[in-house]
Amino acid sequence: MSILVNEDTRLVVQGITGREGSFHAMRCIEYGTKVVAGVTPGRGGRVFNDGIPVFEAVERAVKETGANTSLLFVPAPFAQDAMLEAAEAGVEVIVCIAEGVPVLDSARVLRYLHSRGSRLIGPNCPGLISPGAKCKVGIMPGAIHKPGRVGVVSRSGTLTYEAVSQLSALGIGQSTCVGIGGDPLIGTNFVDVLALFDKDPETDLVVLIGEIGGAMEQEAAQYIKESFSKPVVSFIAGATAPPGKRMGHAGAIITGAAATAEAKNVALKEAGAHVVPSPGAIGATVKSVLGR
């Protein structure tokens, strides 16, 4: 098993005819993902990669192909529209890759999702992958992953690839890797993903990769302490970041004491997580915790 994406995932790619969309749709197909449809307004009726129908609207894609998951390659200014379109069409998992979505657009989308059944991953995230199910819904390099029993959840993209490749190099496979995104407002947070991993019988341990900004890691620590039953290995990026300066991600900015890496590490340690001090040691720490 795995969480969020698996063998039953039927993917529609929004923006499939664009440069980025078509490139990554191909990589997902190559990895084994069931890409059943594409959507590009104005390009409905085309066929992608010799067999995947392109629709004008997500609604049609869902009706005609049974798509249940959407991967958005839509520029940030149009992401609100595309996310709402997917949610309104009843897509269950919506993955928004775009960086630079205006925060009030995200606020509107999240407000809309309150009363809907859809789950949003992102924005500003690499997506998610379940190697055992050969299902990749995102932009991560598929080859570094390995099927296995460690869950990964992270606010970052390349830092997650780094962690995954450390794991794979040590022969430790992953159940699902979820990039939740680097924006201040995101659809799915650490606690949401931890709760899913907790119930997943095929996940033994979770690697949690946080960063400066906000207090989401403290909420995760609280949850780990009170309700989470599996070991957690954590790394928080940005111990050397100065206060008040945005470190790339819109969400990575120290605006108060809780937002520092130090405060987050303290909370996680106190909750029983295995806190990794240096990013090079994530894999080794997991190996040692699993070995116990």
Binding site: A76, S106, M140, S165, G182, L185, T240, G251, A261, S278
Partner: protein, 367 residues
């Protein structure tokens, strides 16, 4: 808002002060909070005093808690009529992560930095989240007003101010609207003495008319240059320049540099879709920083190919005839080709395959 006028010269400031009746408040016009504390605001009691204080500010650089150590240049001052202050309040609207929407932050301890109040007297701060589905409501204005200890007759004007802030915030896609202090005058009026509005960069495409208001002079020139090329760059105080793709990995790389016993000269995320020129630009920016003694390249390639990164590095180095040594760790697509290009370039490069190796290389090759 109090009466007042912007002045670009000391004598203009003197004239405005005279027009206001001889007493005024003179404020440095800069894009940074914390002006008052930093000596950028003064109550003056004569036109001459306005002249002298303006003369001391205009042309100087102001260093506040929110600027870098270099400060920001002051080119203009605002000369306003002074208010008889009974109380100073704090009122701001920002997007809250946990609430997932706009939240008013109000405090009876105006004039102070809100972070400070939050650390020392958190119970003095009121938060009021607004549901964007229905917008800011008068009952919320009453609640905030009561929390601020306002009188019944002040509730309506206070609510009007909050309604206006909310409208401004939503219409213009702000990330912060802050009035600090919002003063209660001796006769009970509410006056916004100092206001700060931050626009959200990501939403500027919706407000082309506001883009021209940005004042690059108020920012670090290298950061402006990077930002114009789509590179995330923040100047830091160490000596190791860091070229990384991805914000998380870039922060982790800085942390690694620290673990190795030295310090990063910058945060730099070149992005996932960089080409040779963008990499060269990023390297160039680091090479223009005199404090950079070494450059660490940490690229986890997915879309970004190692050979492209290598060519960009060589290009920048040869343009500047730079000699600064490099520690290079590249993983992903076309790694061998990329290493070969750097190895053939004649540059002082040492290669690493893992972050552990990077840490070792940094330790053994301290400048």
């Amino acid at each position: 808002m109090p009466r007042g006028q912007v002045a670009s010269t000391p004598s203009e400031a003197e004239a405005v002060c005279r027009d206001l009746g001889g007493k005024a408040v003179v404020k440095a016009q800069v894009h940074a909070g914390g002006r008052g504390k930093a000596g950028g605001i003064k109550v003056v009691n004569s036109p001459q005093e306005a002249h002298d204080f303006a003369a001391s500010l205009i042309g100087s650089r102001l260093v506040t808690a929110q600027t870098g150590p270099e400060g920001v240049p002051v080119q203009k001052v605002l000369v306003e009529e002074p208010a008889q202050v009974a109380r100073e309040l704090y009122l701001a609207l920002t997007v809250d992560r946990a609430f997932q929407g706009p939240v008013f932050i109000a405090s009876a301890a105006g004039g102070m930095e809100i972070e400070e109040v939050s650390a020392t007297d958190p119970e003095k701060i009121t938060n009021e989240g607004v549901d964007i589905a229905v917008g800011f409501q008068p009952f919320q204005g009453r609640r905030v007003s009561h929390a601020l200890g306002l009188e019944t007759y002040q509730v309506r004007p206070a609510t009007r101010i909050m309604t206006a802030i909310y409208k401004l915030f939503m219409d213009q896609d702000c990330s912060l609207v802050e009035i600090n202090p919002l003063i209660v005058t001796a006769n009970g009026n509410l006056v916004a003495v100092d206001a700060k509005i931050n626009l959200e960069d990501d939403a500027l495409f919706r407000h082309p008319e506001l883009v021209s208001l940005a004042d690059p002079e108020q920012e670090d020139p290298l950061e402006v240059e990077a930002s114009q090329s789509g590179i995330s760059y923040v100047k830091l105080k160490g000596t190791v320049g860091c070229l990384v793709n991805g914000a998380g990995l870039a922060m982790a790389t800085m942390d690694l540099v620290k673990e190795a016993g030295t310090a990063p000269a910058n945060f730099l995320d070149v992005g996932g879709s960089a080409d040779e020129d963008k990499v060269a630009k990023a390297v160039n920016i680091m090479l223009s920083d005199p404090s950079v003694k070494r450059i660490l390249v940490n690229i986890f390639g997915g879309i970004l190919k190692s050979d492209v990164v290598a060519r960009g590095i060589v290009k920048a180095y040869s343009q500047r005839e730079a000699k600064i040594p490099l520690v290079v760790r590249m993983q992903g697509t076309n790694v061998e080709e990329g290493r070969q290009i750097l190895a053939d370039s004649g540059l002082n490069v040492s290669f690493a395959s893992t972050l552990i190796e990077v840490e070792e290389k940094l330790k053994t090759a301290l400048p």
